[in-house]
Subunit: 149 residues, 2 copies
DNA sequence: TTCGATGCAAATAGTTTGCATTCTA
DNA sequence: TAGAATGCAAACTATTTGCATCGAA
């Protein structure tokens, strides 16, 4: 979806649900769209404050909550520290290296086998959308082997 | 391992590393051993305070950190909310239902296939020891289907 | 008798909430 | 002009830290 389309579409959805379109909200949505990667609430606030310094972090949190309730965005916990936000239609999961923080995005279908296994063996429907899958990237798992062995 | 053995073994390990065995530490370790499931620091503190009301939560956190550094225990984040603690030799992972909070323990070997997949396709060594794998238990995923479809 | 452990208070990070005010629809 | 959104301050949860005191080895 083109950025301009998304911008207008989200605002229309917001209005359709009785929400109001304000200057802070436009700026927050713009910041979300402009971020290629996964911003935190703090990063979004900083972006918005470049042009609108009076915008408060609680406003950002509140609007992010609203967007999440509308199904526009999701938030993910990558580990300790702040949550990150991304558009919900961009369906993927996150592998996070606990040593260096590297985030690897994996498509949903890469989980199918494991999901089936957990479903049949443990009656559990895996959905790691909200928390990342932790581990080590190649580089960090190899340097760990060297230093410990 | 028998509980008494573990108790003495941990205290010996602690001493061997220059640590001191104190009344609060005995009580915290006892509480850890007596908990069949996965207690939080707050629950352990409450347990200890039954007999030693002056014990402070920060003492519990500090001792849990020490035990973790010694490799005796691990802490896991099951989701939002406080971390839970368990003995490190009891190697397993956690599936957590985000709807009802149910925790399913899975043996490490149940992850082998998925781990291999992530290793070969994404150069990533999955190690979900420190954060649980989120999803829905059977009951919650079925009631979700009913109410939304 | 030294230095590690404790109790307590205060700091911290991330996020949420109460409330008077502002502004969209 | 009603009611949603905002700014700000304050609360909140989980955890960590500084520091004087205490006590194990």
């Amino acid at each position: 979806m083109a950025a301009a389309d998304r911008f207008d579409e989200v605002l229309a959805l917001l209005r359709a649900h009785g929400g109001r379109v304000t200057a802070p909200r436009r700026a927050i949505l713009r910041a979300l769209i402009d971020h290629a990667d996964h911003p935190t609430a703090e990063q979004l606030t900083a972006d918005v404050q470049v042009r609108h310094p009076e915008t408060h972090e609680s406003t950002v949190y509140r609007f992010l909550d609203d967007l999440e309730r509308l199904g526009v965005i999701d938030h993910v916990h990558l580990g300790h520290g702040p949550a990150v936000y991304h558009f919900a239609d961009d369906t993927h999961h996150h592998l996070v290296c606990e040593a260096c923080g590297l985030v690897v995005e994996v498509p949903d279908r890469a989980l199918e086998g494991f999901r089936r296994r957990l479903r049949s063996d443990f009656d559990f429907e895996m959905e790691p959308r909200h928390f990342a899958v932790p581990g080590r990237c190649r580089a960090c798992s190899e340097s760990a082997k060297v230093s410990s062995g």
